[in-house]
Structure formats: C-alpha cells, structure tokens
Symmetry: C2
Subunit: 1009 residues, 2 copies
C-alpha cells in the first residue's frame, strides 16, 4: 500500500504500521497532540516521475525487516512512504527532511540510513550490517527513478550529498561529503546537463577536496595551497575568476596530490565513493571533537549517527541561485520576525567560511543591522515569499521556532533541514511567552521550553554604564552582539592558552580571527569570545550562545599579526597582546582593551539592588512569570547554600525557601578571627582555649543573627564545623611564629602540634563530627552561638527556624553525642533568655555507611541532607582535589586495547558535576527508604553542588526528596528544573532529563549548498 | 511447689517453668545433651533450717513477673528453686553458684540480681528498677532464715559478700565488697558468735577499706598508711600480729579517715551499705578499666553485670581454714591433674596480693614446682579429698575443665565459683584431645573447644637452644614459666612506657614487680611480661596467657629500685635499665638481659623447616589432627596472601589452598629494581620507559615463576599494581638526583613531575586500575610476566592456575579495559609458547560503587575479592593511616554530654581489625547477590586483613563466600574459624562468634575469702 504525499489520506485511514513510530515522536515539550498534517499539493511535488514506494523498491518489508534483514534504510520524498518520524532512529536531520517531505514541502529526494546501522557498525568491529548494501542499492534506485538520472552515468549523472545526523544537533562535529558521484566522466555529463562547465569542475574540485579530507584524512591545506598557486598562475585573486579549464586542470592536480598523500588513487567508482563516505560518517561519530562535544553535553556515546543521502541541489548556479540559513524568529531576542543570512551564487560552506560577508535575508534585518548589502527579499522576491510561507508552515506544524537551511537552485527553493532552533535564554523566554499568547503552547509547555541553564544568562552580570564611561578611552572596536552578557579578563589568542589560563584560575577572553570546532574547549574555558570574522550565525556566535558565553563577533577592525602574535586596531595605534586586559560586551558588541567591572543584571537590579522597579524591566517580568509558574508546578522545595547574611538576602530574593547549608568554617577564615580560631583549635592550655572560644562565640553569634534576620520565617540549616583541623594550621613560618606569640607557646611546640595533626588523607581524617566529638567545646560554642542568635532575632519579632546539622556521621552514636550537646546548649540558652524556640537536629548523609545505617540514624535525626560532594568522593573512592590526574581521561575516553572500538569512555560525566544516579544515587535511595522506616517525618534534601544542576535536581524530584539546596544564583535554575521534573512526571517532555545545556545552531564547516 | 535440693526429683517431674531457661544454657561447645544431674544427698545440705522457696518468699511470681514488676532477683542454695541457668541473665558467677547449688554441692546460700536490673539502671539515668528493692528485701529474708541470722543484728549478724558477675569473666575489672553487714555493734555480735574478736575486727577494718574504696572512691592508700602506722605503734611487722584491740582502734581511725575524705560518715545501716554496694557494682561496669577490657575483647557495652550476694564464709578463722583457687586440669599444659594454690588462714585477696606465697594444693604439684611449702593434701586431707571429688563432679557435669574458687571455713569446704577454665593454646588442645579420648566430647566439640587465636601460640617462634647457649652469660634469672613463648625487646618498667614504645614501633618487654588490672594496656602493648612477685595464677600470668603473651612471673631474685628506676639481680652485679635489651622464655621461665633471636615453633620445624619429623612432635600431631578435623567440617576455602615464592611455600605448608592475593607492588620496592620502576613510572621518553619495562618484565616474571612453582595445582591470584604513583617517587634530594641521572632528566624536571603528581588524598587518587588505564603498558608488562611465567612453570609439568585481579574498579568499563589488555597479552604469550593455559580475570571489590554495580561488573569478572581494608576505608570515610587521631577515642569512648551515662562508645571495635558487618558487611552481601545475578559461577572471597580474624571469617562463611585469604601464619586460624562457623551452622556453639581472644582466670584484687 502506498501512503505519503501521493495518498495523504492514507496516513489517517490505514498506515497503521507507521502510527507507532510517529507517536514516538515528541517535539521537545510538545504536550498538545500533533496538529493534523497539511495535505500536500501537486504543485509542491517537485519531482516529476512518481516512483514506487519504499516497500516495493527496497524489497519485501514487514515491519522493520527487509528480506529477512533488519531495515536500516528509509527513503523520503515524493511518492515514498513516510518513514517513522523518530529522531532517535533517523537522526534529527533525517527526521526533519522526512517530515518536511511528508508535509509536502520542497525537499530534494533522498533516504536515511538509521542510527541502528551505525550502532551495529560500532559494536561489530566496523562491519556494516548484513543487508545494508542491498537496501542502499535499492534506495539509490528509487532516487535514480525520482530524479530521472543515473548514479555514475556519463550522460546524466545523479549527484548526492552524504550527511551525518545524530538524534541531537552536534553542529560541525561530524562529517559531510557533497557532490558525490562525480568522476572524470560524470563531470562532463554534469557539465552538459547543466550547461555549466565551470559549475561542474568547481563542484568536482570541491568534491575531491572534501572526499579526500573526510574519507581519507588528507590535510585540506595541500589543496588550498594548490588552489592559491593556480590563481597565481592564472593571475586572478578570486576563486570565482578561475576558468572551467583552470578548474579542470586543478582537479587533475588534486587527484595527483591525493594519490601522493595516501598512496591510493582517487576512486572513480561512485558506488565505492558512496560506501566509503557512509563509513566515514559513521567513523566521524567517534572523532575526537565529536566525543568532546558529547561529553560536554552529557550525551551517551552509544546513540550513534544516522546518514542522510540527498540529491544535490546547487546554490552556486548563478545569480538566480543562493544558499542560506535562517530562524523563524530572532534567536537572540526571540522577536517574531524571520532572521536569516544568505549568499547568492554560493555553496553553504561559503556562508560560514567568513570569506564573503553573508547578506541579510530581509529588509528589516538589513536596516536594523545597518547592512547595505542586497537582501533576498529584494533580489529574489518569489523565492523569499516561498521561504516565508514555508517558515510559517513549519512553525505552525512544529509549534516552535525552527532553524532552517535552504538552497535556491535557479530560483527554485529547496529546504534542506529544519529543526527546533536553539536560542539565547532571553529569546527562549520571549518566544515561549509569545507562543503562549499566540495559543500555540500552554503554561506547562512554556515551562518545558526554557532550559534551566538559560536562566543563568538572565542573572549574569553586565557592565555598568558608569564603568563604561570610565573605560571609554579604551573602547577599541565594535562587533556583532552575538552572545549577550559581559566578560572580562586577559586576552588569549589560542584555545591551548585559554585552557591553560582556566587551569591556573585566571579569567580570560578568547580572541580569534574566527573559531572552528577545534576551539570548542577554548570557548568553554574562556569567559567570553571575540572574533574578527563571521556573522551572527558563525561558529563562534552560535556555540557561545549555546554554552552561555558572552560573544562579540565579526569585529573587522581588528587585525591579527600572526608572526608577532598581537592584535592591532586598524586606524588606531591600539595594540592588544596576549595577557593584556580586555572586556567585551556581548549585548552591545563593544570591545574594550581594559578590564571593566561588572554590574548586576536587570533581574538582580530589581530583586536585590532595588535600583530598578519591577515595572521598568520586561526581562524581570518574564523572569518573574516563569518563576511563578515554576513554583505553581514544582513539588521540590528549593533552598540555598548561604554562609553570610548577604548571601541569605540574595537567596531569599531569588526565591530560596530556606537555607539548606550554612558552612560555618567559611566564617572562621576571616583574617580577624583566624588567630582566635587557631587558638581554640591548637591551644593546649585551658585558659587560652576558653578565651578564644569566648571571642569566637561573639563572632559566630553575630554571623547567625544576620542570617536569621534575612531568613525570617524560613528554615535555616547550619552545619557544624567540618574541615580537617589541619587546614587551620598556618603554613608559613612567619604566620606560625605570630600564632606562637599569640598562643604564648614556643614555636617548636606549635611545629610539633602541626606535625602531629598532619594527615596522609585529610578528607578521610579528623574532620566533621569527629572534631566535635573529640573537642566538644567546639560544638557547644557553635550551638550556643546559634541559639543565642536565634533568641535575639526572635525577640525582634521575627520567626527563626534553626536546624543544626551534624556533618560526616557514620553511626547513630556520633549523632547521639553531638545532639546531646546541642540539646543541652539549646535548653540552657532558652532558660537564660526565658524563651523557647522550636529547632531541629539532623545530619549530613555523606558517607556510604551513613546511608546504609540510615534507619538507626534517623531514630535521632529530624532531617537528612545528602552531602553529595563527599558522598561521591567516598562512593567512588575519588578525591575531588586529585581527580584531575585521571578523571578527565576517564571522561574523554582512553584508547581501547581490545577489539572492535577505538576508545573506551569510563565515565559519562564528571560525577562531581552531574550526580551519579547509579551509584551515589542508589545510596541516596537506600538512605531515604531506611530513614523513613524509623522516622516517617524525616525531612530529606541535598546540599552538594549537584543541588543546582538540572539533571541532578530532576533525580532528586524522582526519588522524592523534600528539597534541594544550591548556591543563591542557581536557585532560579533549581526552581525551574524542579518544575520541569514535576511536569515530566505528569507525562510531559520526558526528554528534558537527557538534555545538556543548550547549544545554538552551527551551520558547520561543510554545509550542503 | 518446692524443687531443688530438698526435692530433687521435682526437676524431672514437674518444674516445667524452669525447663526453658535451663535449656537456654549452653556451655561453650556443649553439643551433647546435658548429663542428668546428680541427686543431692542430705549430707551435702549444709544449712540446717530449710527455708521456703523463692516463690513464696519473694512474693507472687508468675514467669518473670513478681507482684507486677519484672523479676530481677533469684535466690539459690538449699531449699530454693533453681534459678534459670542462663549466664546472660545471672552472669557467669551467678549461674555457676546457682548450678553448683542445684547439683547439691556446698555453696554458701545467696541470691543473684540479674543483668536486666543493671541494664535498666544504665538506661535510666542510674535509677534502680521499680520492685527491685522489694525483691532484694525478700531475698535477704530467705537468706536470714537459711542462715538463722539477721542482717544488722547485734547478736547474730548476717554478713554477705556483694560481687559483680558479667556473662563473661572479666577478672579484676569490676568491684566486690566483702563482710558487708558489719557496724560497730554487729562486729561485737560477730566476735561473740565466732568467739574470735580478732577475726571480727580484722573483717571490719577490711570491710571499711573496701566499702570506702569501692562505693565512695576513697584512695585505699590512706588506710594502708594508717595500718603501717599502727603496726609501728604496736611494734609489730605483720598484719596478723596486730591484736584485736589494735584492730578495733584501727577501725575507728579508718572511719574517721573516711569521714575526712568524703565529708560523710561511714554508714552504719547495713541496708544502706547493701544498696550502695549494689549500685557500686553496677557503676563498676562502666569504669575505665572494665570498658578497656571489653573493647579489647570486643564485648558489647550493653551486656551489663549481674550482682551476686552470698553469705560470707571465712578462710581466715585459723589454721583449719583456708582459701584457694584451682583448675580441674593444668591450664598451662592441659595435663589431667588438679592444679591449684591456696593460703591457710587467709582471705582471697592475700593469694594475689603477693605478700604471702601461695602453697601448692597437692604433692605432685609441690614436687614438680620444687616447692617445700605444705600442701592442702597434707595439711587438710579431708577437705582436700572433698575438693577433689567436687572437682570431678563438676568436670563430669560441665564436660570441660573448670576453674574453681573455694574457701575452707573451719575444715568445711565451700565452693564460691565455678566456670569453664581458660587455658593456653597448648592446654586447650591437650584437654580437648583428652576429653575426646575420655568420651566426654566428640570431634565437633573438640573443634569448638579450641579458640582459633590459640593456634597462634603453637606457631609462635621460640628461642633456639644454640641462641640460648650463646646468650648464657646474659642469663640473669629464672622465674615461673607462666605463659609459653619467647619474647624479646627493650625493657620497660611501666605501662605508659610500654604503650609509648608500641606507638613508636619498638618491641618491648614489660617488667613489673607485679601487675594490676591497670597494667592491661601495657601488657597488650608489650611482647611479653616479666614480674618479680606472684605465682602462676597471679594477674600477670593469667592475663598474659589469655592474650597469648609470653610471661615469666615470680622472678624473686630481681629487685626494682624505684628511686633510680632500675632492676638489679640479687647476688650478682647485673643491672637492667629501661631501654636495655631483654629476652624472656615463657616456656622455661628463663630471663636474659640480652636480645635473643627466635627460632620457629615445633609445628613450623616439622612443616616448613623439616628439621623435625612429624612423629617427633606431639604438638605437631595435635595441630595436624585439629587441622584435619577442621578441614573435614569447613566449607570455606582458605587461601593466603603471599608476595614471594617463600611466602607461598609457607602458606602451602600451613594448608593454604591457593593464593588469594599477591601484591605486586611489594616486588617493586626492592632496591635493585626501584630505579627501573621509577623510570617506568616517571620517564617522559618512550625509550627510557621501554628499557625500564623490559627490565621489570624480567624481574616480575622470575617472581611469578617462583610463586607458581610453589602453588602447583592451586589457584594463584595476582593483583595488578595498586598504590598511588607518587609513592614510588623518591623523597630525598639525593635519591632524586640519582634518579634524575638514571633517567637522563634534569633534576628540575623530575621535581616538576613530583610536584605535579603529588596528591592531597592519595588513597582517593591515581592508584589501582586508574594507573593501568592511563598507563596501559603497566598492565601489559604485568600480564606478560604472569603468562610467560605460567607457561614456563607449566612446561615443567606443574599445574598453574593464574588469576589476574584488577584493583579499585568502580565500573564495568574499567574492568573491560584492563581485561582486554590481559586477554590480548595472554593470547600473545600462549601463541608464542604454543601452549594455552586456563586463567581467570577478576576484580577487587573495595569501593562502595563497585559493590553497588556488582551486577554489571560480574558480567566480565570471573571472581570478586573483597578488599575489606579499602572497603572499610571508603565506607567509613576513614583513612587507616589517619585513624589514630580519633578512632582510639571512638573505641575507648568519650565523655557523654547528655544525661544518664558517663561515657559513650562510638565504635565497638576498630573496623580495620574486626570487619564491620553492619556497614561494610552489607556492601559485601549486596555485591555477592548482584554479582551472582549476572554470573552464577562467580567466585567470591576476601583478601583484606580481616581474612585471618575469627569473627570476620565466621561472617564470610555465613554470607556464603567461597574463600578467605589471609597472611600465611594465620591460615591455620582461618581454617579452624571456618570449621567452627560450619559447625555452628549445624547448630553447635553459637557463642564462638561473640568471643574475643581467650583470657585466663584472674582471682582479681578482691576475691571473697
């Protein structure tokens, strides 16, 4: 039975076989049922001869089996069955083109090799699955019939693009080969067919370069050099000025270069070209950079990539041809207007190569960006109109902003790609609100549309106008405002340098002529990115937005002197050397050769500084609405980790419902107090110790007073002193001498104490409650400070809810000991003040034994707070401080010494960043279950760094914790993540849990023309 | 209904109420049904008037409830119901006297306050349980009627002893008060009654001293001083020469001293005396030294003590009276002859005080020990005969060697105590074999009778006769051979010094005039103990035997000069100062002022050195029988940890069935190899590294060849390199320079590397398989050495069973990586040699995550070996190296800051010594379950230090591991422990699991006269 574009009704009436896969499709956050598909019109059916269906052409297909083999190939386009619209199977690109074909939009016909084939290939020592060759052969036949052309034909050759496409967009990370099918004979046929010899040989030389590079790993520089040489010989400066004959000659030279580089001739057989290109795409999944990208985003290695094989269309056939990319709405601001760039008479790679400046698609955009380049709207109004209609259809169909690739082949529009467009945090929010207003999505979907990490952008600091005025003499240049936010630091000119600075803890800004996928790690390491070339859709711009880094790009007045490694500003005497201070404003595009201080974001100006009224800031209002909606749906409470009154105020302003962790040791590190702290910890005379304790009591009490004031009416969890005693011992001679004087102790004695308490493994040493048990006066002093402060603040009329948390317990008895001190001290404090306050005593669960013995511990504990930093450390036996020696290699993968795969990745993520649900998570579940057994009212939460990480928050929701606690600025992230987890539980947007931080669209270095 | 001595048949005919408690009784290892009790004869019924039963006298008693209160008091003796013979309830002492009374043996009547009362008291802020006062009052009434005397009566006062008695013997650790009931009036009545004023006032002054000390913590020195003063005044030198009047005057002075010391007068009211003495006994359970004792033996704090209140009998009424202690067989050798000591006209404390030399009980003993003191056999033949008959009855009844206390009151024998006698390892074995031959016990019971730790004594080294000849000029003295074995080290004269030396790692011998319970920790710390006073049953002798330390005691020719702190040998010029070398032979009693080297024990001479034939050594034959029997019953396999061929040979000789752990890093520490090891680990040039690897390959191969040869036919588990890389870096400048030269690397570069790999927490750092994953050549080299060695030994015709063990995994992928190298290397080695051998690849489970992910890991692992040292470390978050800062305090207990108890003990045992079954043990069970899920054939074992510790071996049996692996010399211990676990499982001797190392009998400092 034939279904699809020719028999659109069949989808509804009978194509049961495809209903299940189609139902599997879930556009991110698409809670509403998929709109009925528009029926295709004959006009949109671009290819003349209707071919047979997939079923007929690819053999006997029953379900997913073809001729007894698993089905790995699905054709799309005019006359074909709609493939199962499952991006896990077809990849994002394959699913996008299949779905557009199904909608009747103009898509060059083609077929998809599924990710299952790639998985098989990876798991079977790079062997192609059985039956795949036959299925590809059959799909090529369909294509030949659709296009009325023959693969490898001398007269009428069929040319295809072979493109990668994973289930998520990994822009520029994997390989593509264009113009495949050309050889010395077919190129002539192509020339005749198009009546354009120059096009034919230009395509051929591009194909040879790309094939040699992608499939056989030949360095493309050798071809570029030869191209330069040829231009010199021919006395021309531009590629386009080379004649067809010159290009033909160039092709022969390229083939010779390829032979020399690899020892094998360039393959003339198109079928060999095809098979090897498919393999190359599969292999590119395991390339260094693709692996690095997946690790950054937390995508599993075993997803694999699909391969999309599409008939070639050409944007470089002349002035009636063009290639471009675009977003159905503005990805930087979210504004509802098409936003795109194109190059006439060009192939896609020209757009991103930065050689030619891309032109704005429409007039509004041109005006706004001050561009005087001709727009598509003006130069090809028909194609433009068709593009706008297509964009509208796609948005209505997918109910989200789309990111498109298109090519205009002699005035005719072809869609090459559609997918949900990545966007800045601001844009995500604006679009979501607009679509809510347009009735496209509902409240819950709005919440699901905003990635928690995107909120960070709204909270990130900006440059203060005053600061800018001050720095105006250092204003060096203006570029495109490609990634919002402010960044400053020292300038670095390479990724290596950026990574090095990051490792040293020095903030830096990466300054490059342009960036390539190899610069990814440098961009991650830097505070911000500045490029001299490339537009708003260049690699730098899109990646920066994706990872939330401020970015200014296309800053053309900067010139990089490679030999002497400095940057100068054209027309001025200003010079920037590596290590010089630099600041960039990604919101305005300004570049300063100076270090500018930052000022809080608009949201913080309203919430915290109160320098702006709520009604003055739309950003704030949106932020506020999101938070209000998030709070409506989430079940998890969100607390903050705050060590000072100021932290507590910020936390409250950002919506924290309590403090989950106050680290009292941070209070001790103050210079003024440190001597007393040391006297308390190291004095061997009772007198000195008592004096020191009395001083510290005063300090601690005032700390807690401030915190309790800020937390009026909200629970405040204070952890007793935790770090190894040795950490407080001075390390240099001078400080030691000072302490010796202050303690009235000979230096030798102090050195002896210092030596005696030194530990081989301080994280496993005398710390946590082990301090309070051996030195009960520590616990007593802290408890006294807490309760006296609580009483004082309560007497001011505020509601104080202190919760005292005992760290590092492994047994009930430890808690029993500490709780006795706390209770006695509370009782005494309450008696002295004539006032009693409710309070809780609980414990950290941060060692495996505590998790296992949770039942007993909960007989005394009123709450458990999972200290997932330490719990990760002990469960894995990995010290966070020392993990740098091997964890990066574990994540990036090491060479696999066995058969069948090149690399083996030991860890998917750094478990200190993303909670290890399988190990650490199980201990949390064990502790929760056992704790509740003996104490059904036990309150549970998390206060490790994971409390502000989206996937970890999601896990905390799923295992039924009561709260998460994170740093104040991550409270909004946790609130949103908690809401998404709750909505997911209701059945919506299950994909959120598997998404890393968003990354913008990158055309990649080899986009189809 | 009355049962007991007057109606002996009633026990069989109707006392159903007591059948259950009696059945609860289990003499250690008593597998046979208890023999029928001998019926008592009227002649043995020592007290005239038959009293009413417990039931009638103590109120309405239903089950364990009396007048609505729990029953805490059980009377024993003539005419009483037999109390439930449960030593957990009555304590060992209470159960012993109750059972003797039930057998009709002469026991002074009395009653027991149960351990339940003590538990209540400890858990309820030192409040006595309700109803206890009434029950005690009732029991006292019974006693008054039995004795026809009145408590506090002026004319005919009843005097009692108040003694402690826990479920296990804790000699000298808790308190006793004798002669209770005396006051200024009652003493006169007592004098009249006994017609012995001197006895009366002597008893009174002893009572005042003991009461003031035990109940009110008055330092007894003040009374001793006053006693000395009185002797001076009276012009006498011996206590016994003081007249009754002098003693009466002394009592008044003592009372005045007591008033001055405490501010309160001595209580005249006997009822107050009694209540306060009972409290004092309860409190003594929580004394420092009792706590220390329990910790050493691993007894829980919550057992509590019973209180035994018995009518006083007197061994100091004249020459027809005596007091003594004895064993039904020789506790040192096991020989079947009564062995005991007594003092005529004395109270028990005189026996141990060392003031008078105890006399041998019988002639044989006198001859053997060369004593010319009169024996009991000669001086009181009737009482002696009765004692021998009683001893025989007790042995037949309890089917084990008994340890007795007796008093002869004017020619009449009273039994004050019986219990299973502690014995040396040798004696335990001899007795068990004798009883097997006598038909008293069976094979299984024989196994249960020998504590695994006792085997250590059989294996401990002795002094070689040649060595002794050499050292003969240094032979300083001879004492009693009180604890077998040889010890040498430096002399220390105090417990503090012994502990200090131990901490410094210096071997020492504790030399004391005599020891007291306060010296316990010094004895534990020392290699052996030498005393100048005291006999074979003195504190020093008994404790030393109990903890397996060589001991020489009563070495009278030594004189300690307290002022100048040295020891001289009387009649010679020899002098011993603290720190001088000393050696003692506890088997012969010789003392050398020199350090003697030791020689292997007889068992090892037969098994390992082959310098003795099996038939030449009875000890060996017994050892061999025990091992043969143990092997017959045990299910657990016992492997050994062995790092060299020599270790492996020893292990095999001692019965190891395989090697569970070969630590390859120990092989690397050899000076000759260390430079190559360092070159391999730190070279940054490929060339250097390859050279070093080639050298190490050679070394490692030869190591493995030796081990495989020794292990012919037995599995041999080799662990890959485990320790942090940094451990191999030289630490002093000179060595660094040498290495720099050897590596052709500038010193600065090496320092840089050293700095770079330094770790904050090396135990959580780059070690274990994390080394082999980042430096695969390490694993490859080790695997190559293993398989090449295996092939080489196999070609010699031996059976090689290599098992390669990957350390510190947390995930399947780590093992996958390492296994790939191992498998590839094996394949290559087998191909080169033309020979294939079976081998296994497995992993350590030593991190919590490995235990949790065991299911996946077992998909690749063929065996799991629990590395319980590291697993304990990570589960508790305690570094073994740093645990000294707080774990000792956790075990000894810290002051409890809350109400109701003085101290709180955080840990029962050091989890690095005794496996933490609750935490670490659960992870082991989880790993075993999950591992077997995916690999039902998974082999499981343990290779931490716990593998040779009895309680831990028992646990390993219970959770169904396949093997334990321990150090070679502990293999016999593990074999026996494994057999006991298996027999226990069959229903025998469940107590073994709760027993620490055996401790001998100690009369204690305050034994009843």
């Amino acid at each position: 039975m034939r279904i699809g574009c020719l028999l659109p009704f069949a989808f509804i009436s009978g194509a049961v076989a495809f209903v299940a896969p189609a139902a599997r499709l879930r556009v991110r956050g698409a809670l509403l049922p998929t709109h009925p598909r528009p029926s295709t019109t004959a006009a949109q059916s671009a290819v003349a001869e209707p071919p047979d269906t997939n079923t007929k052409e690819t053999g006997i297909s029953v379900g997913n089996v073809v001729n007894g083999f698993e089905r790995y190939v699905f054709s799309f386009g005019d006359g074909c069955d709609t493939p199962p619209l499952d991006k896990n199977l077809l990849g994002g690109k394959g699913k996008g083109v299949s779905e557009m074909a199904d909608m009747g939009l103009p898509v060059p016909p083609g077929f998809v090799i599924t990710t299952e084939a790639c998985k098989y290939y990876r798991n079977n020592k790079r062997a192609m699955p059985e039956g795949l060759d036959m299925q590809v052969e059959a799909a090529m036949k369909v294509l030949e019939r659709q296009m009325n052309a023959q693969f490898g034909s001398i007269d009428n050759p069929l040319l295809v693009a072979v493109r990668s496409g994973a289930r998520v967009s990994m822009p520029g990370m994997m390989e593509t080969v264009l113009n495949l099918g050309l050889n010395d004979e077919a190129v002539e046929g192509f020339a005749r067919q198009t009546n354009n010899r120059r096009l034919a040989y230009d395509s051929y030389r591009r194909f040879i370069t790309m094939y040699s590079n992608v499939v056989e790993h030949v360095n493309p520089r050798i071809f570029e050099k030869e191209l330069e040489k040829m231009k010199e010989e021919q006395g021309v400066t531009q590629d386009v000025d080379l004649s067809a004959d010159a290009l033909k000659e160039l092709c022969q030279r390229f083939k010779a270069l390829k032979l020399k580089a690899t020892g094998t001739p360039f393959p003339d057989d198109p079928r060999e070209q095809l098979v090897r290109a498919i393999r190359a795409v599969f292999d590119s999944w395991d390339s260094e950079r693709a692996g690095a990208y997946r690790r950054f985003h937390g995508y599993p290695d075993d997803w694999g990539t699909a391969v999309v094989i599409m008939t070639m269309v050409f944007g470089n056939k002349g002035d009636d041809s063009a290639t471009g990319v675009g977003f159905t709405r503005d990805p930087s601001t979210g504004e509802k207007r098409f936003y795109g760039e194109f190059l006439p008479n060009a192939q896609g790679e020209d757009v991103v190569a930065g050689i030619r400046t891309p032109q704005p698609v429409n007039e509004l955009q041109a005006v706004r960006s001050g561009s005087d380049l001709p727009t598509l709207e003006k130069t090809m109004p028909e194609a433009y109109k068709q593009l706008m209609e297509t964009a509208q259809k796609l948005e209505t169909h997918f109910r989200d902003m789309q990111d498109l690739e298109f090519t205009i082949d002699k005035g005719r529009l072809f869609m090459l790609q559609t997918r949900t467009g990545k966007r800045t945090g601001l844009a995500a929010i604006n679009i979501a609100f607009d679509m809510l207003n347009e009735g496209l999505i509902d409240e819950k979907e709005l919440i699901m549309r905003i990635e928690p990490e995107q909120l960070v952008q709204l909270l990130a600091p900006v440059f203060d106008p005053q600061e800018k005025k001050r720095a105006s003499p250092h204003l060096a240049a203006r570029g495109l405002n490609a990634g919002p936010g402010a960044a400053s630091g020292v300038a670095v000119f390479s990724t290596e340098k950026a990574v090095e600075m990051k490792a040293k803890g020095v903030k830096c800004v990466l300054v490059r002529e342009e960036t390539s996928p190899e610069d990814f790690s440098g961009m991650v390491a830097a505070e911000g990115v500045l490029t001299m070339r490339g537009g708003s859709t260049s690699h730098a711009a899109v990646v920066a937005r994706g990872i939330g880094k401020p970015c200014v790009c296309g800053c053309g007045s900067l010139r990089y002197n490679r030999e002497e490694n400095f940057v100068r500003v054209e027309g001025t005497g200003m010079v920037l050397r590596e290590g010089d201070p630099i600041s960039i404003d990604g919101t305005t595009g300004e570049v300063y050769f100076a270090e500018l201080h930052t000022t809080p974001s608009e949201v913080l100006q309203v919430l915290i500084d109160k320098t702006k009224l709520p009604e003055e800031s739309k950003t704030f209002q949106q932020f506020n609405t999101i938070m209000t909606l998030a709070d409506k749906y989430r079940r998890l409470r969100v607390h903050a980790n705050a060590d000072t009154g100021r932290d507590a105020e910020v936390a409250r302003a950002l919506g924290a419902q309590g403090i989950g962790l106050t680290r009292t040791e941070h209070m001790f590190m103050d210079k003024e107090r440190l001597t007393d702290v040391r006297k308390m910890l190291f004095s061997e005379t009772e007198q000195h110790r008592k004096e020191a304790v009395a001083m510290l009591l005063k300090y601690q009490k005032s700390d807690f007073v401030e915190i309790f004031r800020a937390m009026d009416g909200h629970p405040t969890t204070i952890r007793l002193l935790d770090p190894p005693r040795h950490e407080f011992m001075p390390h240099d001679e001078e400080e030691l001498q000072q302490l010796a004087d202050a303690m009235d102790t000979p230096l030798e004695e102090l050195l002896r104490i210092s030596e005696a308490i030194r530990e081989a493994n301080p994280m496993l040493g005398h710390r946590g409650c082990r301090l309070g048990i051996l030195f009960p006066y520590l616990t007593e002093m802290q408890a006294q400070a807490i309760f006296e402060a609580a009483v004082e603040v309560a007497k001011e009329g505020k509601t104080v809810m202190p919760e005292v948390m005992v760290p590092l317990v492994t047994s009930k008895n430890e808690l029993r000991h500490q709780k006795a001190i706390i209770d006695n001290t509370a009782k005494a404090a309450f008696e002295r003040s004539g006032m009693t306050l409710p309070y809780k005593v609980g414990t950290m669960i941060e060692l495996p034994r505590a998790a296992l013995r949770a039942k007993e511990i909960a007989e005394l504990a009123e709450f458990f707070s999972f200290g997932t930093n330490d719990l990760t450390q002990s469960t894995f036996g990995i010290s966070r401080d020392d993990s740098g020696h091997f964890v990066p290699a574990y994540i990036s993968g090491v060479e696999y010494p066995g058969e069948g795969q090149e690399k083996i990745q030991i860890l998917d993520n750094n478990p200190f960043d993303v909670l290890d649900q399988d190990g650490v998570g199980e201990l949390m579940e064990i502790a929760r279950d056992r704790g509740k057994q003996s104490n059904p009212n036990l309150k549970t939460g998390i206060c490790g760094e994971h409390g502000g990480e989206g996937r970890s928050v999601n896990f905390c929701h799923r295992i039924g914790l009561d709260y998460v606690s994170c740093s104040p600025y991550r409270v909004p992230v946790a609130r949103l993540a908690a809401a998404q987890a709750a909505i997911e539980e209701l059945g919506g947007g299950a994909e959120v849990a598997y998404q890393g931080p968003s990354v913008g669209y990158i055309p990649g270095k080899t986009v189809v023309s």
